[in-house]
């Protein structure tokens, strides 16, 4: 029994009236975990029962602890008839299994019923006592930390990035089981909720196991998705990046003084014990007897038998152990050396040797993770065996026998790679897919970005026959990933970052999509440069090709990459092309980098990642969306799939045209956070591409857009065209002003590029498509002005241009982006407002594609407008992480859901900021103009930030007086605007102050209440004066003005809500409004119960809404996730010496709430 789960039911409040006669309720509670159920006493006749139960104890495997939720059911006791259920609470106890996360769940949690919604709250206490698990063959992966955040979490340091982890589990959807015909909607919903809880628990556990195999202790960028495949089943899949993380804590001297030159074994002690041991609750009490127990089962034979009897997994476990244990051994050794930039390459690690000499100590101590710690005792001997097997030629994998296919593959390839790679190479491990769902990286990690790679495939769903072997689904994804990998390779890149996978399902047709950004990563953080062998070999010639010139390939090994980094400035390095310019996989317009003038850059860059913090950006960014709607014929099965796959390339092509046009219209040259969503319905296809456009200083200035008519005979037509041309030019000029894009005029010097093509073709995009359902996303056109020509040859094109121009400009004071941060804005205030908005639009008549396009585009635009209006009180503010999701829930219905966060920023600070970025440009413009200098001083007292790029740029710039003048004019207008904002800000500050005064007074008012209550109120009315703890939610990975001091665990919740009285609940809007509010409330409550005060990286991954107004019914499924954290305001942080204490008191006083 490796774990004891304890739960205590304290009280309930605000319960619904279950007995009409007395207007009261006789409530009791069932606490269920696995197959064990406990009950509290009935607390008669109260809506605020005080059960104050004993501790209910469940003795369970940690495997179950990971898979199962604790299920709490509140019921109304009925003497004569069956007890009525009031509602349920599912508690995910996973956060309690990791010593670094939460230690107790305590607080008021909403009681939820799938038919009635939230029905009161229940106060519970849940704890877990984990015992040392000495079982080598365990299936659990307790202790692996999970983060939804797609960057290295704020209070951690990445010791190593191990690579891509993925897993999927499938099951039958309870909604489609035969029994669903006879059970109530409630029972069916609950079965579904429970199943998904179980499946995601299992999935997380399995991913955790993989991470342990790889030697990591955490998963970052964990993205879990559901595919509701209807008849054919239910798929839960997840991807993430396995990492070894180390907590940065200034309070612990152990990590602060990280010994840098000691031997590996010594080195490893520090993170292993110095940091973790205090946090492990189990190391104190219970382990003694258990350790004894496992000592007895220490010999291999015994432990095997034990395993086979205790679990129902494969019987022949020997090879598996080998597979598992080999991996952790090497990485740990390496991991410790990697933090030291000098001792860069772990050469000392041939496993055979290593295990004999140094392995035993590091194994016990190295992992900064309790799970491993627990395992340690039984570990070492086994490893000797394994290691020696490996030393004898790397055949361990082949001897393995009945391993899981994948595992064997990995082992094998890893071993082969090891043999091939010379000792100077970094270790190549696992790394079947060098994918990273991360979107932001530690500085220096990302060397070059190639461009977006994506792959889609259309599949026909069939019933999943054996849930235990989800091979088809695995194989499908396998295909797609392979394709992505080959695309990346074609771009000369070794890795794919910002990687994500998604599906869209309609009836039995399913589109699987994956996309990411091809990139070259620094080998400093990875131990492998996750290339497989052939790739490396095939790349070799490429490298040779270019090394002759100034380029050095980033993955040539550490020395090479180090040398490379020396000469490349961080602000532009990532823009430099990773592919060979003479061997470009597509026609591209290359120029020398506008920052450093040494390396080539493309003229446009599309990526799926966040803007690197160190990037040089001119002006501000903005959200750019391409929207497309295409009609399609109704079809069934295979035919339908064919129709869809035929349409897809066109759809993607159009989306890219739109994106490119809109990008140029805004005078920008790069897209970040690109996300293309394609949704299928019975009679149409929807495509929505969202990204944040920016002007990268390193890239050439985009040319304008020129319109060319095809029939120049008609004069009015000519007129029309020139009008339109004027409009477009005006818009570009306006946008440049709006986004403060004032790049320095640079003498055009396109070097070594192909001759500009004088084509009059309307679209200069070329898609390099290897298969029908894939379009490479690197589209390149001329860097020269006016080279981008739109040709109007039919009404469609006219419509296109109209659509181009109808995009509503963001109102004054607003900015928007779909990435984490907005370039040019840093001074966020603490005011944040996360929101979700959902719209469903009904199309009535049969429409043309053009008409549909318009409607769809308007729908998105209007939604944005509404958001700006709603949030007008927060101006100046930026809508960050605007995440649009489109769906076609039914024929003729389009659903758009948006989740984002609005963040206010400081206007005065903005001024300073603007000035800073202004300075950059000023420096670049470098005209030693008196007027400008004055302006500079006026704006700013700070010294201009040193810009290494200024001098080369300046040389080419001197004398371009004209541009400088234009610049200064623009700035003064900007200053004007700022000053008017300052006025507004003062006003707002005033109201804020008033508000806060009010708050305290109301608090004062509330405080005497408890004393007075005893006398004046009836005793059975228990009101509490304390209000509910405030929990912030944000889709970003950080909270402005605050420091995250602790990650409490992942929040991953799935809810179903159904109603049979739609009209009574306020129609569809009323129903969904309530449900979303309830979901927020439940997320907040669970976070507060964990002791947290915020959710970061929050996302609503699924919002499936179905209605049947004729039957007065509706159903909705919502899946949300995020990371529960504790944050402290930076101001508070300064005042309190002991951070953690302040944080816990900070949150607990709110969380208590009687």
């Amino acid at each position: 029994m490796p774990g004891k789960l304890k739960a205590k039911i304290v009280a309930g409040r605000h319960l619904p009236i279950m007995d009409r006669a007395s207007d009261l309720t006789d409530a009791f509670v069932e606490v269920k975990f696995g197959n064990t159920t406990f009950k509290t006493d009935v607390y008669p006749k109260s809506l605020n029962p005080q059960w104050n139960s004993e501790w209910f104890k469940f003795e369970v495997d940690d495997e179950d602890l990971q898979d199962e939720p604790l299920q709490i059911t509140v019921l109304d006791h009925d003497t004569y008839s069956a007890n009525d259920a009031i509602g349920k609470v599912y508690i995910d106890i996973d956060p309690l299994l990791c010593s670094e996360a939460a230690t107790v769940i305590s607080g008021w949690l909403p009681i939820y019923d799938t038919i009635h919604g939230i029905r009161g709250e229940i106060n519970v206490l849940v704890k877990v006592d984990l015992f040392n698990d000495l079982n080598r063959f365990r299936q659990s992966s307790c202790g692996v930390k999970f983060f939804c955040t797609t960057s290295i979490p704020r209070c951690y340091r990445a010791v190593m990035v191990h690579g891509f982890v993925e897993e999927l589990v499938v099951n039958e959807d309870p909604e489609y089981q035969w029994i669903d015909r006879i059970r109530t909607p409630r029972a069916s919903n609950e079965a579904r909720q429970r199943l998904i809880f179980l499946m995601s628990g299992e999935l997380q556990r399995k991913i955790g196991l993989k991470v342990l195999e790889m030697g990591g202790n955490a998963v970052v960028g964990y993205l879990q998705c559901f595919d509701l495949e209807g008849e054919s089943g239910l798929v839960v899949r997840a991807i993430g990046t396995a990492c070894t993380l180390e907590k940065i804590s200034s309070t612990l001297p152990a990590t602060a003084t990280h010994p840098s030159n000691s031997s590996p074994s010594k080195d490893m002690k520090e993170p292993g014990f110095g940091e973790e041991a205090p946090g492990v609750p189990l190391s104190s009490g219970p382990p003694t007897p258990l350790r004894a127990q496992t000592f007895s089962s220490f010999s291999p034979s015994k432990s095997y038998s034990r395993q086979s009897s205790s679990s129902d997994t494969e019987l022949s476990l020997t090879p598996k152990t080998v597979g598992i244990f080999l991996f952790p051994s090497t990485p740990t050794l390496e991991s410790e050396s990697s933090p030291l930039p000098s001792a860069h390459l772990p050469r000392h690690l041939w496993p055979g040797m290593a295990s004999r000499s140094t392995t035993p100590p590091p194994l016990r101590l190295s992992k900064s993770d309790t799970a491993i710690l627990r395992k340690s005792v039984s570990f070492s001997e086994e490893l000797l065996l394994a290691a020696s097997g490996m030393g004898s030629g790397g055949s361990a994998g082949k001897e393995a026998g009945p391993l899981k296919a994948l595992l064997r593959q990995q082992t094998q390839s890893a071993l082969e790679q090891r043999r091939v790679s010379s000792s100077s190479e970094a270790f190549v491990r696992t790394g079947e897919y060098p994918f990273f769902p991360l979107t932001a990286f530690p500085p220096g990690f990302l060397l070059h970005v190639g461009g977006v790679v994506s792959a889609r495939s259309v599949k026909l769903l069939d019933r999943i026959h054996n849930p235990d072997e989800p091979e088809t689904r695995d194989a499908w994804w396998e295909e797609i990933r392979q394709e992505i990998k080959s695309h990346a390779k074609a771009l000369g890149c070794q890795a794919v970052v910002g990687y994500s996978e998604s599906t869209s399902i309609c009836e039995e047709v399913c589109i699987l999509s994956a996309s990411g950004t091809a990139a070259i990563l620094s080998s400093r953080f990875m131990q492998d440069g996750p290339l497989d062998t052939e790739h490396r070999l095939s790349r070799q010639p490429l490298c040779v090709f270019s090394t002759g010139s100034e380029r050095v390939e980033g993955d040539m090994g550490s020395s090479a990459s180090l040398g490379f980094e020396e000469v490349v400035s961080p602000g532009c390095g990532f823009c430099h092309i990773p592919y060979d310019e003479l061997n470009i996989p597509f026609p591209a317009q290359l120029t020398y980098c506008y920052c450093c003038r040494r390396y080539k850059v493309p003229d446009v860059l599309f990526t799926t990642i966040d803007l690197p913090t160190e990037a040089n950006v001119t002006g501000k960014g903005c959200l750019i969306q391409a929207r497309l709607c295409r009609t399609k014929k109704k079809a069934q099965g295979e035919g339908n799939a064919t129709v869809i796959s035929n349409l897809l390339p066109f759809l993607e092509y159009e989306l890219h045209t739109q994106l490119m046009n809109k990008l140029k219209l805004r005078g920008m040259n790069a897209l970040f956070g690109l996300r293309i969503q394609i949704s299928i319905g019975e009679t149409m296809l929807l495509g929505l591409a969202s990204a944040t456009g920016v002007y990268l200083t390193a890239l050439p200035s985009p040319g304008g857009i020129q319109i060319a008519g095809k029939t120049p005979s008609d004069i009015t037509y000519e007129q029309h065209i020139s009008n339109m041309q004027k409009k477009i030019n005006d818009t570009i000029a306006k946008n440049k002003e709006l986004y403060e894009i004032n790049p320095p005029e640079v003498v055009e010097e396109i070097i070594g590029s192909p001759i500009p093509e004088p084509r009059q073709r309307s679209r200069l995009f070329r898609s390099q498509s290897e298969s029908s359902d894939e379009v490479s996303e690197l589209d390149l056109s001329h860097g020269k002005k006016d080279a981008f020509v739109l040709e109007i040859d039919d009404t469609d094109a006219v419509e296109d241009i109209h659509a181009l121009l109808t995009d509503f400009p963001t109102p004054a004071g607003f900015y928007s982006c779909n990435t984490e941060i907005m370039p040019g804005i840093q001074n966020w205030t603490s005011a944040i407002q996360m929101f979700t908005s959902v719209r469903v639009f009904r199309l009535n008549a049969s429409l043309t594609s053009q008409g549909l396009n318009k409607i769809f585009s308007d729908l998105c635009e209007n939604l944005l407008k509404s958001l700006y209006f709603k949030l007008r009180s927060m101006v100046p503010c930026c809508l960050c992480h605007l995440n649009f999701t489109v769906a076609i829930p039914e024929d003729e219905l389009i659903q758009v859901a948006v989740t984002a966060v609005a963040m206010s920023f400081d206007k005065e600070q903005l001024l300073e900021n603007g000035k800073q970025s202004g300075e950059k440009t000023l420096i670049k413009a470098i005209t030693e103009n008196d007027e400008q200098l004055q302006f500079n001083l006026e704006l700013n007292a700070e010294t201009p930030s040193p810009n290494p790029l200024s001098s080369p740029k300046g040389l080419s710039e001197v004398g371009s007086h004209l541009s400088a003048r234009a610049l200064s004019v623009d700035y003064s207008s900007f200053a004007d605007r700022c000053s008017s904002w300052i006025e507004q800000l003062k006003l707002k500050a005033h109201t804020i102050r008033r508000g806060s005064v009010k708050t305290t007074s109301s608090m004062e008012k509330a405080s005497p209440l408890p004393e007075g209550r005893s006398r004046s109120l009836r005793s059975n009315r228990s009101y509490s004066g304390s209000s509910v703890a405030v929990v912030k939610m944000t889709p970003l990975s950080f909270i402005p003005g605050a420091k995250i001091i602790k990650y409490l665990g992942i929040i991953n919740m799935f809810f179903i809500r159904e109603t049979t009285s739609l009209r009574e609940e306020g129609g569809v809007s009323g129903f969904l409004h309530t449900f979303i509010a309830e979901v927020f409330a439940m997320v907040r409550a669970h976070v507060a119960a964990l002791g947290g005060n915020a959710v970061v990286s929050y996302s609503m991954k699924e919002c499936v809404f179905m209605e049947n107004p004729n039957k007065n019914q509706a159903q909705c499924l919502i899946n949300v996730s995020g990371d529960a954290v504790i944050f402290v305001r930076e101001s508070e942080l300064e005042s309190t010496s002991v951070q953690t204490q302040s944080a816990t008191t900070h949150t607990s006083n709110g969380a208590e709430g009687t």
């Binding site: 959902v838 199309l843 709603k870 708050t999 109301s1002 004046s1016 009101y1023 929990v1031 409330a1081 439940m1082």
Partner: protein, 357 residues
Amino acid sequence: MSVELDVFVGNTTIMDKEVYQLWLNGYTVNDAVKVRIEGGVMEECEASAEVLLSDTMDQYRTFQMCERLLHHPAKLANQLLFQIPPDRQAMLIERYYAFDDSFVREVLGKKLSKGTKKDLDDVSLKTGITLKSCRRQFDNFKRVFKVVEELKGPLVENIRQHFLLPDQLARDYAAIVFFANNRFETGKKKLLYLTFQDFAFCAGQLINNWTVGAVDNMMEDMDVDLDKEFLQDLKDLKILITDKDLLDQHKSLVCTALRGKTNVFNEMEANFKNLSRGLVNIAAKLINAKDVRDFFIDLVEKFIEPCRSDKWTSIDVNLYLTHYTNSAHILDTFKYYAVWTRYMGVIKSCILRMYHD
């Protein structure tokens, strides 16, 4: 083509004060949108009517969902569904429980029953307040009444704690509850010139001085009923008018004190017996519930009207009542000083408050 569903949910619930007020005033969504357009919010924020409609619908929905909680304001603080900053919560409650003086004048002193509620459409017509708003206000009165009715202790304090209302509003509700409980007549033509605030002031006086709680805070009785013992004792005051000597003595004492101090001395002297009889009779009858109802009518008919017809100023009234009250203490055969002071204190301040046009 139509928007079928349109929702916006913020982690912190967004509520626009202006829209809230429109909702409270019982405007339909379309009317509210019209008002907002006229208010110029559109130009301010570059919005369209469509956006405004969507926003208004959304806000209305939020308010409707909140309404349930507003019925039990204490719940608003510890509910989990909406995350609302405390100052916003206070604003929501205060505005929800705010009422129109013109409305409350119509129902003040009436039984808060279903029958009265049925007549609200007439009230709505008469006052120009929407029926919806009338219903809300009426239901608020009724809800507060029901909760407080059976509670022990000071009425105002109970209301304030239970409904988290600001002090002034709690006092007003106390008045409404007190009037409803004692069914004071306020609708007669002669009383129409009085505002709600006049009555609220008087109610405050009565609550503070004439109820059981007024003398003994720890009493097991409530604030909403008048002190029966006191009412009983008031009968003893009759001696002031039944005993001829006492009456004359009282009159001469008052007249001596007043002489030369007012322009209406003659009228005062002439009317003394009448006025004194009026006031003492009111006191003596208060033991009957039916006469309690007519308390304000009686004050107007027996005292205020005669004075007004003689053109007394309120300074005159104040002077007269002060001396009238104080002189009784000097009367040798009159022993009910405590009761007299308790009675006259309230009567004086009520009359002074009610003595206007």
